[in-house]
Symmetry: none
Subunit: 212 residues, 4 copies
C-alpha cells in the first residue's frame, strides 16, 4: 500500500517533470536561453515557480537535463544504426536518415540551436565533448570497417572522412532545406549518400561505376 502510494506520487512527479521539459523545449525554441524565463515555464506547465525548483534547482539544470535527454537519444540512434546488420554504407545512410528526420522536428532544431549557443558552452563543454567523442568513435569504427573491407579509399585519412560525414549529418544548410520543404529527408539521404560515398569510394575497385 505504502509502496503503491509512493510510486503513484513518483509517477506523477515524473509526469510533471516531462511536462516541464516539454514546455521548456518549446520556449527555448521560440526564444532562446536568455529569453526563456522561469515564470513562463511554470505558467505554461501550470505549476508554481517554487515547484519548478523542486525539479530543477537552477535554470541551467533544466536546460542541461533537456540536452542530456536529447544527447542520449541521439547516441542511442547512432549506436543502434552502427550495430545494425548490412553494409557500412547502408548503416551510415540510416544515420543520415535519422538525423535529417530529427532536423525537421522540434527536438533536432532545439539541439541545433542550443549547441551553437555560446552562453551554454561552459555548461555543455564536457558533456558535449563526451557525447561527440562517443559518437565520433562509433562512426570511426564504422568507417574503418569500410576501409578494411576495401569499400572506402584508404588514401583519405579516417579523421577527415569522419568529420566530413558528420558535417553532412547535421548542418544548417540542410536544416533550412528541410524546413523550407525544398527536399524530403529521403531525397536528401539519397543524394548526400551518393555524393559522400562516391567521394570516399576506393578508386582501386571498380566500385565507382556501380554507383552511377
Amino acid at each position: 500500500m505504502r509502496e503503491s502510494t509512493l510510486s503513484l506520487k513518483e509517477r506523477q512527479r515524473q509526469q510533471r517533470e516531462q511536462l516541464i521539459l516539454h514546455a521548456s523545449e518549446k520556449i527555448l525554441l521560440e526564444k532562446g536561453y536568455h529569453e526563456m524565463c522561469m515564470d513562463e515555464v511554470a505558467a505554461r506547465v501550470g505549476i508554481a515557480k517554487g515547484t519548478l525548483y523542486l525539479h530543477f534547482s537552477r535554470k541551467e539544470d533544466l536546460v542541461l537535463a533537456l540536452l542530456e535527454l536529447q544527447m542520449q537519444a541521439i547516441l542511442q540512434n547512432v549506436q543502434e544504426a552502427v550495430s545494425a546488420p548490412g553494409s557500412v554504407r547502408s548503416r551510415l545512410e540510416t544515420l543520415l536518415a535519422t538525423s535529417y528526420m530529427r532536423l525537421k522536428g522540434e527536438r533536432g532544431r532545439l539541439f541545433y540551436a542550443l549547441f551553437g549557443a555560446v552562453e551554454l558552452r561552459p555548461l555543455l563543454r564536457s558533456r558535449h565533448h563526451a557525447l561527440l567523442d562517443q559518437l565520433l568513435s562509433s562512426l570511426e569504427v564504422l568507417l574503418n570497417e569500410g576501409k578494411a573491407s576495401g569499400e572506402f579509399d584508404p588514401a583519405i585519412p579516417t579523421t577527415i572522412m569522419l568529420h566530413t560525414f558528420s558535417s553532412l549529418l547535421a548542418s544548417y544548410p540542410f536544416k533550412r532545406l528541410l524546413l523550407d520543404e525544398m527536399v524530403t529527408p529521403e531525397e536528401l539521404v539519397q543524394y548526400v549518400g551518393k555524393i559522400f560515398f562516391r567521394g570516399v569510394a576506393n578508386p582501386q575497385r571498380a566500385y565507382v561505376e556501380s554507383l552511377a
Copy 2:
C-alpha cells in the same frame, strides 16, 4: 592644417571604434550576447560607458555592426573567389581554403557563434538571409557552370550540390578539427575537395579516375 586636425580626430575616432569592435568581439566569443555587458566592453576598451554610446547607440547596434562587417568580408571573399579565373573546382577550393582559414581565426568563430544564437534571430534574419542568398546564388552559378561544362554530374540537383558544398564550407566538426590543430586548413581543403569533387563528378566522363 585644419584638415589634418579634423582627420586626426576622425582617425582617432575610427581607431577607437575598431577597439570597441575588437573588444566586443572577444567578449562575445567568450560569453555570448547576453553575458556581454556594456560596462565590460567600455572597461576593456578603457573608455566610459557614455563614450561607447557615442559610437553605438544600442547594444544591438554594436553587435550588428560587428556581424555586418564580417558578412561583408565573407561576401567579398566569396565573390572574389567566384569570379577568379580557373576551373570551377579550383575556384571552389579557394573558397574552402578561405573559409577554413577563417574558421581558425576569431572572426570566423564569432560569426559561427552568433549565427546560431536564437536571441539574435530577429535582428539578423533579414540581413542574414540576404547575405546567405547572395552567397548561395554566387555558388549556384558556379555549380551550374560546372554542370554545363560536363564537369559535374547533371543527375544531382544543383540545390543538393549547393547545400552539400555549403555544409562542408563552414561546419562545427571542421571548426573543432582546425582549432584542435588535428589538421591544417590546406590538408582539409585537399581532402574535402577530393571527396566532394569525386562525389559530384560526372560519371559519363572518365573524370573520376583522374582524381585518384
Copy 3:
C-alpha cells in the same frame, strides 16, 4: 479557515499597496514625478524594489493609480454634493467646502501639483478630460437649475458661470491662503460664496438685497 488565510494575505497586500501609495504621494509632493525614484519609494515603504514592481509594474502606473484614486474621490464628492437636497446655492457651497478642505490636505495638494505637470500630460490627458468633463457637466446641470429657478442671472452664459465657479473651486491662491492658515475653509466658503452668488444673482429679483 482557508478563506481567512487568503483574506489575511490579501489584506496585507492591500495594506502594503496603501503604504506604497502613501509613500509615493509624499515623495511626489516633495519632489515631483521625475525626482521620485523607485528606489526611494521602496526604501521608504521598507520593501525591496522588486516588490514594488509586483504592485505597480511601471512607475507611471503607480502615479496614475494615485491620481485615479483621487479623481474617483473628487468625482464622488461632486456627485454627492450635486444630488443632495437643498438649494442650488447650498449645494454649490458644500462643494466649495469639500474642495477647500481637500486643498488643505496632502491629497488635494498632490492632485493640484500633478495636474499641472507637463510631463504627465500624455498619461493624463484622456482620463483627466473625462473626469473634468463629468465634473463640469454635473456642475452645469446645477447652474442651469439655478437659472431655471430664477435664482441666477440668465444674462450670464452658463459656460462662463461654470468656469468661474470652477476657478474658485480649486485655485492656487486659495491653496496658499489655506495652507498658511490665513483663513479657515469655512470662512473661505462663506465669503467666496457671498461674492460668487451675489455676482451671478438674478438682478430681476430683489434677490440681491437678501444677500447682504
Copy 4:
C-alpha cells in the same frame, strides 16, 4: 574701435541669449522641464552645447532666467495697470484682459505650466513668492482704494477679495476656455468682471442696480 567691436560682440551675445531663451521656451512648453535636454536646446539654436553653458551654467539657470523674464513682464503689467488712471474697476479689468491675453499666448502657458511644476519649486520658491507678494500687495492697495471709496463691500475681508480676484486672474478652467476658443478674452473680461464686481460691490450704495 575697440569699443564698438566689443559692443558688437556683446550685441551678438545677447541676440544668441534671446535665441536660447526662445528655443528653451518652446521645448519647455512641448515637453516640460525634465524632457527638455540641453542637447536639443543647443541643436535648435544651432550652437554647440558648450556655448550654451557659456550663457547659462546650469540647466536650472536657463529655466530660471526664462521665468524671471516673464515674472518681470507680468509684474510690470500689473504695476502699469494699477497705476493707470480710471476707476478701480476699470484698472482691475485691464489686468484681467492682460492676463487672459497672456493665457492664450505661449508665454502665459509656459508660466502656468512651470509654476505648477513641483520640481522647480526649490528653485522658484523665493523668487516666486517675492513676485506674488509684490503682485498681491499692488492689488491689495487697489482693492483697499475701492473699499475706501465705498465702491467695494467693507464686510468682505480684503484678503479674501484679493485671493478671489487672483483666482480669477489666472486659472486652468479659463485657460482651457480660451485655448479651445469657446470665448474671447474680451468676453471673458466682461462677464468675469460683472460677476466679480457685483460680488464685491458695496450693498449700501445703490451700486448694484447700475451693474445690471
